[in-house]
Amino acid sequence: MIKKILIIDDSPIARKMLKSCLPKDKGYELCEAADGEEGIRKYLEFVPDLTFMDLTMPKLDGYQAIDAIRKLDKDAIIVVSTADIQRESMSRVINAGVFSVLRKPMKSKFVQEILIRVEAEKKKRAGGE
C-alpha cells in the first residue's frame, strides 16, 4: 500500500497543485523537497513508497536525482511530473527506469490513475516476494 509520498519540485505552486490532486481520504504522509539535492536527502530520511519528480530544477536536476535515487534503491517507484514534454526528454526518463510520466499541469484524474497503477505494482511485487 502507498503510505508515504515524496514530492520533489522547485515550484511551490506545482507542489500545491499536485497535493490537491491526491485523494484526501487516504491519509497519505507527505514530504516535499525543492530541488534534486534536497530530494535525495529526503528520500533517504523519509523512505517513500512513491516519489513524484520534476525535471527542471536548480542544484541537481530531475535526471540526475532519478539516477542517484535509483542507485540508492533500484526498486524506487518514481513518477516524473514535468512540463518538458519533448520526445528526447521523455525517452531519457523512460530509459532511466521511471514508473510513469505525468504532464503538467496536473489533473486529478491522471494522478489518481497513477496511484491505482502504483498500488497494483506494489501488490504484484509483494506477491512475488
Partner: protein
C-alpha cells in the same frame, strides 16, 4: 529598478505565473521539436515586475549576458492578455539553425544567406513565441491575436528604435526563460512581457487558474 511596482504581484502570484510560464515554454519546445529536429535544454523561468522605462536597459543587460551581438525576434499579441514576446539569440544563430532546417526546407537553398537567416529566425521565433503565449492563454482561458514576427538585429537603427518604443509610464511583468538549443549549441532568451492594462486581468486569471487546485 521598479521598486514602486515590486508589490503589484504577490509572491504567490509570481509563483503561479512562473509555473504557467514553465508549462508554456515546455509545450512550445515540444512544438518546435515537432517542426525541426532540435532539442531544447530548459531552465526555470524568472518573473519580474519592472517600470516599462527600465525594459530597454534590462533587455540590453540580459541580452549581453552571454553574447555581444544578438538577433531579436519580436511579436506582439492582443486580447485580455496583451503584450510582446521577444526571442533573443546570438547573431550566428540563424546561420547555425539553417543547417538543422536544411533537411526539412530545401527551398531555402535558393535564397541568399541573409534572407535564409531571417526566415529561419522568424520561423523559430514564431513557433516559440506563438506556442508559449498560446499555452499561457489556454491555461488562463483566453485567446489573443498576433502581429507577424519581425527580426531585429542589434547592430543598426532598427534596434535603437525598437528599445525606444516602450511607453515608460507603465509597469510591466516580464517572464524570462533561458534555454539552449543542444544540437547547435546556441543559448537564447525568451521574454514575454505584458503591460499595465493587462495586469488586473492577469491577476484575476491566475487566481481562477488556481481555484481548481484549492
Amino acid at each position: 529598478m521598479g521598486d514602486e511596482h515590486e508589490y503589484i504581484f504577490s509572491d504567490e502570484e509570481k509563483d503561479i505565473l512562473q509555473e504557467i510560464m514553465n508549462i508554456a515554454f515546455g509545450s512550445a519546445s515540444a512544438d518546435l521539436g515537432d517542426v525541426i529536429d532540435i532539442y531544447v535544454e530548459l531552465s526555470t523561468p524568472d518573473i519580474q515586475v519592472l517600470d516599462v522605462g527600465d525594459i530597454p536597459s534590462y533587455l540590453i543587460e540580459r541580452m549581453h549576458f552571454r553574447q555581444k551581438e544578438t538577433s531579436i525576434v519580436a511579436q506582439n499579441f492582443w486580447g485580455d492578455f496583451k503584450g510582446s514576446g521577444i526571442l533573443v539569440l546570438p547573431n550566428k544563430a540563424g546561420r547555425n539553425l539553417i543547417t538543422v532546417l536544411d533537411d526539412d526546407q530545401a527551398g531555402l537553398d535558393t535564397e541568399p544567406i541573409a534572407g535564409q537567416e531571417r526566415e529561419v529566425l522568424m520561423e523559430v521565433g514564431n513557433i516559440l513565441i506563438g506556442a508559449c503565449v498560446g499555452k499561457v492563454c489556454e491555461l488562463l482561458e483566453t485567446f489573443v491575436t498576433y502581429t507577424p514576427p519581425r527580426v531585429i538585429h542589434d547592430s543598426g537603427n532598427e534596434y535603437d528604435s525598437f528599445v525606444k518604443s516602450f511607453d515608460p509610464s507603465q509597469a510591466a511583468i516580464i517572464m524570462e526563460t533561458v534555454f539552449k538549443f543542444q544540437k547547435v549549441d546556441i543559448n537564447g532568451l525568451l521574454f514575454i512581457f505584458t503591460n499595465q492594462e493587462a495586469i488586473e486581468w492577469l491577476r484575476k486569471a491566475l487566481h481562477n487558474f488556481m481555484e481548481s487546485y484549492e
